[in-house]
Subunit: 373 residues, 2 copies
């Protein structure tokens, strides 16, 4: 028996060849993952099986002149997971992120995903994962749109006009057949305008740009929030249209009513329980909450003003038909989504399967025969 | 300006071509890392900058027939780090481990290391890391031998005769010029005998094998412990020769005197502080201690029988001349070493540098121009 191990490498152009930019397919893949999350057929990092991952956290200052120090969006992160169902593989996303990259003509984060055999640990496919990561992040609110939006949604507000929301919008648009208009908001008008222009030319939509948040929100049936973490966003509940679906891919704050008078639907309740657990373990609950998307919600749960996480609704159970999603056209729904390694594993596995079928990618040798057994 | 990014891939044969099996060089590299650890010029994972890493921990049982369940040495682990000095890069080791691999003719763990630019996060070098990982693990006790052993050490006991101790011994032997004899111990005599035969033919040493631990230890000036975690090892202090250096690469238990009457030298005090911190955060201190090499020592520290970690000696400060190492020929020293991602990053960077110089490895394209900026 040969013990030779080879695996596939996919460059970014390879992942494009394999369809990573074809939005609708990835909405289906992410919907499938949500079903597996609701069933519990997955494992992420740590003893609670639900950790987001482990980062290298840079210190505020360092006596060593070469050591990286804390900066905007600056970190490295490893995100391991096992995903079941037809995927049935392990994998890890590993990336470095630094806002200073953009000045160098590079994306803010540079990411790769490695997919591994769940039994032996052998690498199966290593890939450039910048588009993959943006795609899975964008496909997630599109799954929410499919299951939680009013069917007659005509107007979408894009809050934050960076590459993540571009991916969100590209995917959301595939699930909103009656969409007629996009309103873009950013603290920089030129960014908002460029996004609006792109949406107009790409999708033939009516488009306008604003730096006024209430203006952006007032007509919107769909709201996708992915603003920079560097500038906190404040949303008043009164600015939201009745019956809207607000999809949080990035953090936002608001008045208490924003959360108390909406139905909150989570991506994965166990993940949020893990965040709360980690917050309490950190010894600085408010500090920890301030850094995560669900922070304002966890605070209200701790205060007894919102139902406990275990009694809340997750989208996976809505998809599986176990829990009600939208129950009336007037209901305002907030969908909360955090990054989860299982989605990277799912999309990475899908690309790996396509690569095998289509003969795309480079075959790399790990060894002909292992030197050490 | 071109934004093209390429990186190097090294197969296991490439890493051999680049000298990963040339033991003495890697002892020097690991000695250098210990100096950087003592100075503090590194960051590992988590808020305390000293986490071992993050694993996928398989459950004891699962309702999903395909989901991996807990088994001997079965886990996946991500180990991220930044290392300063001349290295000045970030990296991540990612591996899957499963004792069942050996029946398939595969090593127990299958590992890769990815080295990244500390500023942009761009991948620099991805590599097969099975030999690398065994090499750094084996080179670490060799650094201890260089700095802590009696210069006239003639006999080495090898406790546990698997591939890890083979790597330990290959490196230790380069630092023990007066070594004449090896005594191998394993619960399986054939494994111990095979190791002894190998050492005899490879290094021309007098060699014997035993399944009796006291027998293995009684003459030994150097003791390298890397036995399977599956079968706990119990060492009585009275079995150890006066003046010996006992190097723990794997866990061992013993009577209290084993720890109380020896000088304990740590690989990195901050790492052990992080282990203790994680033990207390876990809510099950004895359970956590039972799973880590330093467990028996932390217990005695908590009981006030051993000095606090912060008042203890680490090998890096011995190397830098800041703390005394061995102070007499009669002193018994126990060196405690756990796996640390910084060593993987160091060896990975060194291979990357050699690959650049020697033109070894395959150049892989990440992208010609990033699709998303």
């Amino acid at each position: 028996m040969s013990n030779k191990i080879e695996f596939i490498y996919l460059s970014e152009p390879d992942t494009i060849k394999l369809g990573i930019t074809d939005a609708p397919a990835w909405v289906d893949v992410c919907e499938e993952v949500f079903g597996l999350l609701a069933k519990g057929d997955y494992l992420m990092g740590g003893p609670n099986h639900n950790s987001h991952g482990m980062g290298i956290i840079f210190p505020k200052e360092s006596p060593f002149p070469n050591m990286p120090v804390a900066g905007p969006d600056r970190r490295f992160f490893a995100m391991p997971a096992y995903l079941g169902g037809r995927f049935d593989v392990c994998g890890n996303k590993w990336y470095g992120s630094n806002a200073a990259n953009t000045a160098k003509g590079l994306p803010r984060s540079i990411l790769t995903v490695l997919i591994n055999d769940k039994d032996t640990g052998a690498p199966l496919c290593h890939m450039s994962a910048n588009i993959l990561s943006a795609t899975r992040t964008g496909a997630i609110p599109a799954v929410a749109t499919r299951h939680l939006a009013r069917k007659d949604s005509e107007v979408c507000a894009v809050i934050g006009c960076g590459p993540i929301n571009k991916s969100c919008f590209r995917h959301i648009v595939t699930q909103a057949p009656n969409l007629k208009k996009i309103i873009t908001y950013d603290i920089f008008l030129d960014k908002a305008q460029a996004f609006a222009d792109w949406a107009k030319s790409e999708f033939g939509l009516e488009a306008s740009a604003t730096t006024e948040l209430p203006e952006a929100l007032k007509e919107a049936d769909l709201v996708t929030v992915a603003a920079s973490r560097l500038k906190p966003l404040h949303i008043e509940s009164s600015w939201i249209k009745k019956g809207a679906l607000v999809m949080l891919t990035g953090p936002a704050k608001g008045d208490d009513d924003l959360w108390l008078k909406s139905k909150i639907v989570y991506d994965n309740i166990k993940l949020h329980e893990a965040y709360v657990e980690e917050a309490y373990a950190s010894g600085d609950v408010p500090g920890y909450y301030a850094g995560v998307i669900g922070g304002p919600i966890y605070t209200l749960i701790d205060e007894g003003k919102l139902p406990k996480l275990e009694d809340s609704t997750d989208i996976g159970n809505v998809i599986l038909g176990n829990k009600p999603g939208r129950t009336s056209d007037d209901e305002t729904i907030i969908f909360v989504a955090c990054g989860m390694a299982v989605f990277d594993v799912a999309c990475g596995f899908e690309l790996y399967q396509r690569a095998l079928k289509q003969g795309v990618g480079q075959k790399l040798l790990l060894w002909d025969e292992p030197y050490i057994k």
